[in-house]
Symmetry: C2
Amino acid sequence: VRTVVAIVNQKGGVGKSTTAINLAAYLAGKGEKVLVVDMDPQANATSGLGVYEAPGGCMYDVLLEGKPLQEVAVTTGVDGLDVAPSSINLVGAEVELVSALAREYKLKRALEKLPGELYDRVLLDCPPSLDLLTLNALTAANEVLIPIQCEYYALEGLTQLMRSIRMVREELNPDLMVGGVLLTMFDPRTNLAHQVAREVRSFFGDRVFHTQVPRNVRLSEAPSYGLPVVLYAPKSSGAEAYAAVAEEVLNRG
Amino acid sequence: VRTVVAIVNQKGGVGKSTTAINLAAYLAGKGEKVLVVDMDPQANATSGLGVYEAPGGCMYDVLLEGKPLQEVAVTTGVDGLDVAPSSINLVGAEVELVSALAREYKLKRALEKLPGELYDRVLLDCPPSLDLLTLNALTAANEVLIPIQCEYYALEGLTQLMRSIRMVREELNPDLMVGGVLLTMFDPRTNLAHQVAREVRSFFGDRVFHTQVPRNVRLSEAPSYGLPVVLYAPKSSGAEAYAAVAEEVLNRG
Ligand SMILES: Nc1ncnc2c1ncn2[C@@H]1O[C@H](COP(=O)(O)OP(=O)(O)OP(=O)(O)O)[C@@H](O)[C@H]1O
Ligand SMILES: Nc1ncnc2c1ncn2[C@@H]1O[C@H](COP(=O)(O)OP(=O)(O)OP(=O)(O)O)[C@@H](O)[C@H]1O
Ligand SMILES: [Mg+2]
Ligand SMILES: [Mg+2]
C-alpha cells in the first residue's frame, strides 16, 4: 500500500465519514485501488457505501482476533473501492484493547500483512474521540486528513487534536504528518463560516485544501441510498467539491 | 436534586451541547436552580457558557479524585445556572477509569453527596460515544434526553443507543428511562428532515417533544461569545425553540 490516510477529528459530526466515502469514491474513479477501513462502531462509512452484511467478518475480528484485512474487505458499488466493515461489536473493542499487548499497533500490523499490490491507498474513518480506535488509526497512518466544520466549536477542538497527533508522532509513529485539512459544510451566507475558514487557513497555511465543501443536502441524502454522491447526484455542488478534493489529493502526490 | 438528565447520543454533532446549554439557560430563567455537568473532554458546554477557567478544579478531579461537585461548580452569565467544567485531562479519564473500583458509579456517588437544596435539576452533557464517561452519566441519571439530528445517520445510531440504555437499566440503573427525544437542526425545506422526523415520532411516540429545533445560525454563533442563545439572540427561531422545549420539560414535571 502506498498511502494510509487517517481521517480524524474528535469533534462530532464534522464530515469524517462523508469525506471518507466520497473522497474514496472519486479517487477510485480516477483509477486508484482504494480501501476504506471503518474504525467507527457507528459503521456509517460501511452503510454509506451500501454494505449491510459482513460475510467475512468485520474490524473487530481484525483488531482483536488477528483476522486478515483482505478477508473482511468487501466490494462496493464503485469499481476499485472496497470497504473493511465495522459493526456494533466494535463498541466493546475499546475496553478489550486497553489490556492487550501492543494495543496501539493492532491496525498497523494488519495493514502491514495486506498484500502490497491490492490497494494504492487506504482511508481510515475514525470515531469522534481520541480513544484506542483512533490511536490505532493514527499509529497505522502516514498522514492525517482533518475535516473541519465551519463552526466555532470546530476551532476549539483543534488544540486537543494537534496535541494528540504530536504525542502519537513522539511515542508511536514518527512518520505521521498532517497531509491535509478540509473545510466542510461551508455556508457562504454566514459570517461565522468565513471567519472560521480564515482562522483555519492562517493556522494551517497551505495544508488546507483550496476546495471548501459547501453545505449541500445531496451529501446527506446519499447515505440513505447506500451510495456515494458520485453515484447519487454527480452534478450536485457537494459532488463537484469532493471531485475537486480528489484532484488536489492526487496532485499532492 | 430532583431530576438528573443525561443528554446522550453517540452520533457526533447532533446538538447535545447546544441542548444542554440552552435548555439549562431557559429552565434557570423559569426559576429553577440548574447545574450543567460537562462530561465531554471537548468541554464545549463549558466554553459555550463562557467559562474559561476552572478555579476549583474540573470533572476529572470529581471522577478520579473524589473532589466534591460543589467545589468545582462555577457560576455562569445566567442567574441560577452553574456549570461543573470539563477540561483536556478528561481525555485520560477513560483509560484510568477502566481499572477503577465501581468505575460506572463515580458520577452517581458525586451527585449523591451534593447538598440536596443546591439544585433542582442537573443536566449531563455527554461526549459522542458510549464510553465510560457516558456510562457514568447513564448510571447517575433518572432520565435520558436524546437529541436527534434530522439526518439519515442519526436514525442508524438509535438501535445502538437504545441497546446501551437497556443494558444500563438491567445492570447499573434500574430507574433509567427515556424522558424525551428532541429533533434538532430541522430544515423544513428538505424531504430528508420530514422523513426522519416522521420515523422518529413513530419510533418514540409521545416521548418526542412537540417542539422541533430549526437549523438557525444564531445557535452556532452564540458559543463564540460564550453565551447561551437567550442572552445572545433571544428573538431568534433557535432561541424561541429552546424556550418552548423548556416549557415542555416543565409541563412534563
Ligand atoms: N457538506 C455537507 N453538507 C450537508 N450535509 C453534510 C455535509 N457533510 C456531511 N453532512 C451530513 O452531516 C452529518 C454529519 O456528517 P458525518 O456523519 O460525515 O460526520 P462525522 O464527522 O463522520 O460524524 P461522527 O463524528 O458521528 O463520526 C451527516 O448526517 C452527513 O450526512
Ligand atoms: N439548531 C441548530 N442550528 C444550527 N446550528 C446548530 C444547531 N444546533 C447545534 N448547532 C451547531 O452544530 C454543531 C454541532 O452541535 P453540538 O456541538 O451542540 O453537537 P454535539 O452533539 O454536542 O456534538 P459532539 O458530538 O461533538 O459533542 C455546533 O457547531 C453547533 O453550534
Ligand atoms: Mg463518522
Ligand atoms: Mg457536545
